[in-house]
């Protein structure tokens, strides 16, 4: 399935890009699966690794690790928010 992934703030700086379109291999069905798949690409992508404090959103709503990922989704990864 094809999805769009966005990265914000310090995480965008760490991975070196703001967004990408991805054709996912089979077996990736949740936000946690996607994050592990991205982190496994190595180098800069280790910024998405399990030890890091990263939040996710699916289609512009906060999403936990077990949230399903569906074709056409917009998934965003970012550090904890610091507005206000």
């Amino acid at each position: 399935m094809n999805i769009k992934v966005l990265y914000f703030a310090s995480l965008r700086d760490a991975v070196g890009r703001a967004e990408e379109s991805l054709e996912l291999p089979s077996g990736i069905s949740t936000v946690a699966d996607l994050r592990a798949f991205l982190a496994d690409r190595g180098d800069n992508w280790s910024a998405l690794g399990t030890g890091r404090n990263i939040r996710a959103a699916r289609n512009q709503r906060m999403a936990g690790p077990s949230e399903p990922v569906s074709p056409g989704d917009e998934i965003a990864f970012f550090p904890p928010v610091t507005g206000g």
Binding site: F8, A9, S10, N53, M62, A76, V81, T82, G83, G84
Partner: protein, 149 residues
């Protein structure tokens, strides 16, 4: 419209006035204004850049306002949050709440700020003499938000 995410500055007096304009049922307006400070964690701050997630940020703020309106009987609510590059003394955020009495106005204003701090996708990049640095989230913001749960 109750929520705005914008680069432009805002007029606090005009925003407060608009919350009760033309209505007789408002007995209290509580407001909060957040400003850029010139120092943070021991470093001088010459400017900061606020980044947001267009679309999600507006939606998150609207959901926070909706949640406040479920918890308290409110006449009107206004939230403005700026993005882009700001300098010390500049206004960042405005929350204004109008109600019949001060109790709900004070509480709802504080609730909206506490939830905004932990749920609205904004990130601050500070400019210091040592270079730019992303602001880390504070545990105290999480505990402030959790007291409403």
């Amino acid at each position: 419209m109750s929520v705005s995410v914008q680069q432009a500055d805002f007029d606090v007096g005009a925003e407060i006035e608009a919350l009760s304009h033309g209505r007789g049922d408002v007995g209290a307006v509580a407001s909060f204004v957040g400003l850029v400070r010139d120092a943070s964690d021991g470093a001088g701050i010459s400017a900061m850049t606020l980044e947001h997630y267009p679309g999600m940020t507006e939606r998150a703020l609207e959901e926070i306002v909706a949640e406040a309106r479920v918890r308290w009987q409110l006449a009107d609510v206004r939230v403005i949050h700026r993005y882009g590059r700001l300098e010390p003394g500049n206004q960042i955020v405005f929350v204004g709440v109008a109600g019949a009495h001060r109790g709900e106005a004070f509480e709802a204003c504080e609730f909206i700020m506490d939830y905004l701090k932990t749920r609205a996708p904004f990130w601050k990049l500070e400019e210091t003499p040592q270079g730019a640095r992303w602001v880390d989230a504070r545990d105290s913001d999480d505990s402030a938000a959790s007291r409403w749960e």
